[in-house]
């Protein structure tokens, strides 16, 4: 049942040119950063004579691409999540799902999964793009895998929060703005605590946890953080939809 909902969501993403255009534009953006990353590598590294200044090509290019990807996703994900529930609310199609033999949990998880599959295409694409470096260099696969996993968890968290805000309103645009603002606040949170990086408030920041992945480190506490973040917002969404049934 979750899969059926996910299929429906994917189908509606690709039913219009919208899905394809978003994929194409995002891939173009990542591709161009990859290209400048590779170009810069030759320029910078040819100037770096001392061994201490030298950085591997994987880290150099990977940092550029994944850094940019996490930033672009901050804008892209709210635009994708905004219509998931609010659009259904506005065009009154929620009763279609509510009166089918599916639980609310399945509806929310299905919608979430549908979006994740769509975003995974992008994460996979970035991974494959960076793999092409392996044709002429010896690259660090562990670094790429950690980064991909980090990016994947990051966009999944963005999506979970976006779905929640989408369930709050009837207007997709309001959902997009709300989720963008809160995601932006959550990502830059840790910069306010630059003097005290171990402050508990900084620990809430999404970027802080993404950073260890971008150093190539898979830390179970970061995995836990993302897992809790995603499940919190999905549960909130389910409760919000349940309130519809109870309060009317």
């Amino acid at each position: 049942m979750i899969l059926n909902i996910a299929r429906k969501e994917l189908k509606s993403l690709f039913a219009s040119p919208m899905g394809w255009i978003i994929l194409a534009l995002l891939m173009m953006a990542f591709g161009s950063y990859y290209l400048t990353g590779v170009n810069n590598y030759f320029e910078v590294m040819s100037g770096a004579i001392r061994p201490a200044e030298r950085v591997g090509v994987t880290i150099f290019v990977g940092q550029t691409v994944y850094g940019v990807a996490s930033f672009i996703m901050l804008f892209a994900v709210p635009l994708l999540t905004m219509r998931l529930i609010s659009e259904e609310r506005r065009s009154q199609t929620l009763p279609f799902l509510f009166s089918a033999p599916i639980s609310l949990t399945e509806i929310v998880l299905g919608k979430f999964l549908g979006l994740i599959v769509f975003l995974s295409i992008l994460v996979l694409y970035i991974f494959l793009m960076l793999l092409t470096l392996n044709i002429w260099a010896d690259i660090d696969f562990g670094y790429l895998i950690a980064n991909s996993l980090g990016l994947w968890l990051l966009v999944a968290s963005f999506s979970a929060l976006g779905i929640y805000f989408s369930s709050l309103t009837q207007q997709p645009i309001i959902a997009a703005i709300l989720s963008f603002i809160s995601l932006f606040a959550l990502t830059i949170l840790e910069r306010f605590f630059a003097s005290d990086p171990n402050h508990w408030f900084a620990y809430l920041s999404l970027m802080k946890h993404f950073q260890s992945f971008s150093r190539g480190l898979i830390d179970s506490s970061d995995l836990m953080y993302f897992f809790l973040f995603i499940s919190t917002f999905l549960i909130l969404t389910i409760r919000r939809l349940d309130a519809d049934r109870l309060r009317g």
């Binding site: 049942m1 059926n4 909902i5 299929r7 429906k8 189908k11 509606s12 039913a15 219009s16 065009s91 009154q92 199609t93 929620l94 009763p95 279609f96 799902l97 509510f98 009166s99 089918a100 033999p101 599916i102 639980s103 049934r245 109870l246 009317g248």
Partner: protein, 310 residues
Amino acid sequence: MSNLTLEAIELTRLFGGREAVKNVSFHLEKGEVLGFLGPNGAGKSTTMRMLTGNLAPSIGTVKICGIDMIENPKEAKALIGYLPEMRPIYKEFTVDEFLTIAARLHNVPSKQIKKAVDIAKQKCGLSHMSKRLIENLSNGYQQRVAIAQAIIHNPLVVILDEPTVGLDPIQIREIRSLIREIGKIHSVILSTHILPEVEMVCDRVQIIDKGNLVFHGSIDELKQHRQGNKLLVGFSKAPALSTLEELKGVVKVEKAESGFYRIHFQNKQPPSEEIVELSVKNHWGLYQISPDQTSLEDIFVQLTENKQIK
């Protein structure tokens, strides 16, 4: 196993302290079409939303074939087909795509989906629209898609909230015969404003007003209200009212619109012959005499207004 397909037991729904539906109980048997009537805002849609599990009742229970809607929503919902007031269709899909999704979500086995879609399309007259985007269909065809969506999994109970809205007369007739056809095997609940529709399609009628059930009975009972004891008479040179009132069996005479008189009589013995004879004798110029049937509208108004006075 009993034949009860749907039971609503003492349903009450509060919206912020205001009772939208008050203590409504009824049941539905297999092979029955129940008409649900009521003025705007009477609580028809609210009741239907509760029956389909879209809205939790404040008090009371809904049972579909004995399965409690609140305790086992999945099993109960699998037996229902629901067409809400606002048609729930995804306009970015084609008719086929949308119906396939609907079939899938309603647990139709994957091998039978294609067949189920075909049957639903055929029943609703959509076969030649398969590849069209729902967005580009006319209002009436969109309504048909919404109806097809509700019956695609062959549900035991079909709940239709104003199904004939936006259809042209021919389509309305087709949909009505479709409803009767479904009603032969399964149960149908149908809400509507159109009173003749109820008479044509439904076996039982239920009238709700301000959240209360004011009438509940078979269509024949409702029709009995219609068999009036009144005559509508037109004279070109009308006599005095008192002359008519003195006739045998006449209870009351009142002036109706455009020179007609409404004559109330007793004992189901219309004094028509007498009136005709007298008219000829006294040159009243009788040009019309006919039994005055109370329209369904009048009964409806009566029933809903009586309640208000109480």
